[in-house]
Symmetry: C2
Subunit: 341 residues, 2 copies
């Protein structure tokens, strides 16, 4: 059910006095009943949730008792939800999870890419140490999937296949949390090889509202949701890393807001105490438009204080630097959310 695409101008990128580029997209803000509280563009826009689904995808592992069985630390649980920087702590923690399963790096099927965090990538190169799948930003999610294999007594072979019981469990959990039918979810393949799930933004926002405020969910699921939120509050570094927005947002709001980026311009967040979820999509996929849009939407919804926004200024209105690090422009929000009456 692809939606018609009536995107709205969200972000301007200036150079000197001119707007050099624009980014369009869609925003949905909902409460735990799924009522639309705010929007831009088409809040029903149907798109892949990408890595914003990771927090939801961690639920089955906790529901299955994986945290107890493998004595997962908050750091390890947060890493299962992460698109991490590939810093040494991230790689080490992914390996620690695997060791608890009696496995090692070779069990992962996520492939390799250089650490997101450039100083970590450079340090790895200088060290002469090999780049491994542990450095893949998704290694925690994959380790969590392998842990779920153990809990479900499913084979760890082909755990990335859409037909594998673990991926079927992912699909159904995403559908339940989003309040949509599994049949309505189109699948694609992520950068790391596993299925990704397409849902309307409003449904993704609902999943995040419920994740943060799960009191109306079945008790076992509610506990899993609380454990995930709690783990990220305790160990925000492990969901992203140095200089990353997802980490800073938790730190600056002292855990009042938990957010997660996804590739190709997706963001989702929950404000647990308010029972609010937000999801957004930049239609061209640009990461540079993601955080300015998220911070601005939070401000307009009065979910973030001006003081907190000031601490996130580098994400809200980042400068455009030249190669000599002089500011030659700015990336700035240019939208006004439609608020529900």
């Amino acid at each position: 059910m692809p939606s018609s695409c009536v995107s709205e101008l969200l972000i301007e990128v200036t150079r000197g006095k001119l707007t050099e580029c624009v980014h369009r997209g869609h925003i949905a803000v909902v409460d735990i009943q799924g009522r639309l509280l705010g929007s831009a563009g088409n809040p029903e826009f149907y798109t892949f949730a990408r890595s914003t689904a990771k927090l939801v995808q961690a639920i089955p592992l906790l529901e299955a008792g994986g945290a107890e069985r493998f004595t997962l630390t908050p750091e390890e649980t947060a890493l299962c939800c992460a698109s991490h920087n590939g810093e040494p702590e991230h790689a080490d923690t992914a390996l620690a999870i695997l060791h608890k399963l009696g496995l090692d790096e070779s069990a992962l099927h996520c492939g390799c890419h250089e650490p997101f965090y450039k100083p970590a990538a450079d340090a790895l190169k200088r060290s002469g140490q090999p780049l491994t799948q542990l450095h893949n930003n998704c290694s925690g999610k994959h380790a969590g999937m392998l842990a779920l294999c153990a809990c479900m007594e499913a084979s760890i072979q082909e755990y990335t296949s859409p037909a594998h019981p673990v991926q079927q469990k992912m699909l159904h959990t995403v559908a339940e949390m989003c309040g949509v039918s599994p049949d309505s979810i189109q699948l694609g393949t992520d950068g790391c090889g596993v299925p990704v799930f397409a849902v309307p933004l409003s449904a993704l926002a609902l999943a995040y509202a419920r994740l943060g405020c799960p009191d109306q969910l079945p008790e076992r699921r509610a506990e899993a949701c609380r454990a995930i939120v709690q783990a990220i509050r305790k160990a925000p570094y492990y969901v992203a890393g140095t200089e990353r927005f997802d980490t800073r947002l938790v730190e600056v709001t002292q855990g009042r807001i938990i957010g997660k980026m996804g590739a190709e311009g997706v963001y989702a967040l929950t404000v647990p105490e308010r029972g609010i979820g937000l999801a957004l999509k930049i239609e061209d996929g640009a990461e540079r438009a993601l955080y300015p849009t998220a911070v601005e939407a939070l401000l307009q919804m009065e979910l973030l204080s001006v003081e907190e926004a000031a601490q996130l200024a580098g994400f809200h209105q980042p400068i455009v630097p030249n190669r000599r690090d002089e500011a030659v422009g700015v990336i700035r929000p240019a939208f006004r959310l439609k608020r529900a009456e």
Copy 2:
């Protein structure tokens, strides 16, 4: 004179069966009289030409006799027009120009960034050799500007300042070639510190049509234009480098088409024998949309054969790979040019 922004959907990025992202923009195709032959979106869209201006910016140096005075090779002239890869040949050639001026790398004001071509960046790191301004993709342009300082007997101090005689000459040459008044050109600052010039796309396309087919220009300018086109035909590697579209386009068409990318989603090209120029802007600045749009526009204008397009398939419809290099989607053109009757 910013134009109203009625952009058109140009490129779709698919994942599985879904369109995950779209890129919008504008295209102008004109002849040497400036008559519009084809368009998409707003062909008068006013934006920074960025590095597409480099071929035009090389004109004053050749007009001033710089090629003879410094016995510039085709490789060196092409490098003056380049956004090069920072491969060893590029850095060496930039240094060779500087040596002919009695200068060295320290005369450049372009700043440093890692070579665009990742294997070159990695090799540099492994070698322990320092990253220098010679590796900046604009080092050839800056070396050319310093050569023009010599020809104009202007100071090499602050040659990047908008008020410097060299930058004033750049402004007036861009204005003349584009057929617009210098006053109509807004200035910004490029990544490399020098002024960039905003013009309507149709005017940028006209500059490229004239560059390739300069017979109606004053003789000295016409000779300069011919020398630039000839240098890039002879040494296409020096205008970009390994695996780069600008280089491959010249190679595949055996010099029949000369094109130049610019940052933030700008492309311009000339088809000299047809007296045609084309300029385009991706409104969100995405480089991944640039080459698919350029190849598709050339095909639709019947300026590129199907066989040539097939040799450029990796630029025309690149796959979206996952981390294991499996195709999970495709980047594909989704527009139809409006053709003049």
